[in-house]
């Protein structure tokens, strides 16, 4: 089940304008920087970005915002990026704010074939507006819908020839759940190693979930 590596440019060409795109990372840590570069270079437009945050104007997802690639953001936090704040106020981009744990679990549900997430988070707040509230054994939960995307752009530490991925320390964050929840999963690893180099117990994302690996720059 070997995969051929593609370039970041070839990968960015797959990500069509207007697509729903999950991007791993937390304030830029664990974000696929070469894929982001390539999306900016090709002048991507109208993307919906799903991720934890929009980092900073010069970092991670923030660079896509700055470059005008983004029409909509679904994230838990945009407070570190004044550009996101400003474009949202101006009506130039839409922002949906989602509690961080709910975001992770909705993506996992989308990838795991579950019908939704029943969470106590957000009950009695603005987050509950328009959502079904379900009482179970005396406790109250919001029914949050599963999330999926057309593409997931991941940053990994190591990949092997089969597409198996490892992540490092706090750079894992949303990458592993996003690997489950997109039609096309593109992983940008720091290193690529032959099959068998990553022990089975060290794999965090099985290679069958990965559509394309971004190879080393020439």
């Amino acid at each position: 089940m070997r995969k051929a590596a593609i370039t970041a440019e070839a990968a960015a060409a797959l990500v069509v304008d207007g697509a729903r795109v999950m991007i791993g990372g937390f304030l830029g840590v664990g974000s696929p920087d070469r894929l982001i570069d390539a999306l900016i270079s090709r002048g991507a437009r109208g993307l919906t970005i799903i991720g934890n945050d929009t980092a900073y104007p010069t970092v991670g997802v923030g660079r896509l915002i700055e470059a005008g690639c983004v029409a909509r953001v679904e994230a838990s936090h945009i407070g570190t990026n004044p550009t996101t704040q400003r474009l949202m106020s101006d009506g130039a981009i839409e922002v949906e704010l989602i509690p961080q744990g709910t975001l992770a679990e909705r993506i996992r549900a989308g990838g795991a074939g579950l019908g939704g997430v029943l969470t106590p988070t957000g009950v009695g707040t603005m987050v509950a507006q328009g959502k079904q509230v379900i009482e179970i054994d005396g406790a109250t939960f919001l029914l949050e819908k599963p999330m999926r995307a057309d593409f997931a752009l991941l940053r990994a530490h190591e990949a092997d020839y089969c597409g198996n991925l490892t992540y490092r320390l706090t750079a894992a964050n949303f990458n592993p759940v996003m690997a489950l929840a997109a039609d096309c999963v593109i992983a940008e690893p720091d290193e690529i190693v032959p099959a068998g180099v990553i022990p089975p117990d060290a794999v965090r994302t099985p290679g069958v979930l990965v559509t394309h690996l971004v190879g080393r720059a020439r």
């Binding site: 074939g113 089969c162 489950l180 979930l209």
Partner: protein, 219 residues
């Protein structure tokens, strides 16, 4: 070629390059022996591993490395292990391209029964209900009849494993596809006539003018 090999060989013709495949315990396990040349598939064992072959070399078995039937397996280079929640996220989430399962019965609507004979034997559903609910394609691999009784029946007399219609039924006599109009005969086993098939089938079959012989690959 015995009945089981015929079934396993025919099912193996449904494998496609790059597929993630889950083979049920028993007969479906045999399919792994007949992967067509030039095709590479990944086998998942739902107790937590993708990328195995069975059995391990003599004397090399590891107590922590078994398939869902409890038999020792070997991991291939590029194998990945994971816990049960992740394993069934893969299954329920549609990441398994093909599940091959045994069955006690399949009925005219394409539903299968496989986990309980009320009052007689209650093995439980294990992972079968999730596989039928979640795999992209589900093939039932079973002998056409058991103790002279047809296993293809008009309506299940045993409790169903899922509401979902399976994709294909492969027996040692025939390949049958459940459709909106009922069970459609697609192929005959070599040397088996349509009337042989009808005689062992307890459900109405839609019989085409010409049912070709099933391909069984080559060695």
């Amino acid at each position: 070629m015995d009945a089981k090999e015929t079934i396993a060989r025919r099912v193996a013709m449904e494998l496609r390059d790059g597929m993630l495949v889950n083979l049920g315990i028993g007969l479906p396990t045999l399919v792994a022996r007949f992967v067509p040349m030039g095709i590479s598939v990944a086998f998942q064992t739902e107790n937590g591993l993708i990328g195995f072959s069975a059995p391990p070399p003599e004397g090399m078995a590891n107590r922590d490395l078994v398939d869902a039937g409890g038999g020792f397996i070997a991991a291939l280079p590029g194998a990945a292990s994971f816990d049960s929640a992740t394993s069934f996220a893969l299954i329920r989430g549609g990441h398994v391209g093909l599940a091959v399962l045994g069955a006690l019965q399949v009925d005219a609507s394409g539903r299968l029964a496989s986990w309980i004979i009320p009052g007689k034997f209650t093995p439980g559903m294990g992972g079968a209900m999730d596989l039928v609910a979640g795999a992209k394609r589900v093939i039932v691999a079973m002998q056409h009849a058991a103790k002279g009784e047809p296993k293809l029946v008009e309506t299940l007399t045993l409790p169903p494993t899922a509401a979902r219609r399976v994709s294909l039924i492969v027996t040692e006599l025939a390949v049958i596809e459940p459709t909106d109009d009922g069970l459609a005969l697609r192929e005959r086993a070599p040397g088996v006539s349509v009337s042989d098939i009808l005689a062992s089938t307890g459900a109405r079959l839609i019989v085409p003018d010409d049912a070709p012989e099933m391909p069984l690959g080559c060695d």
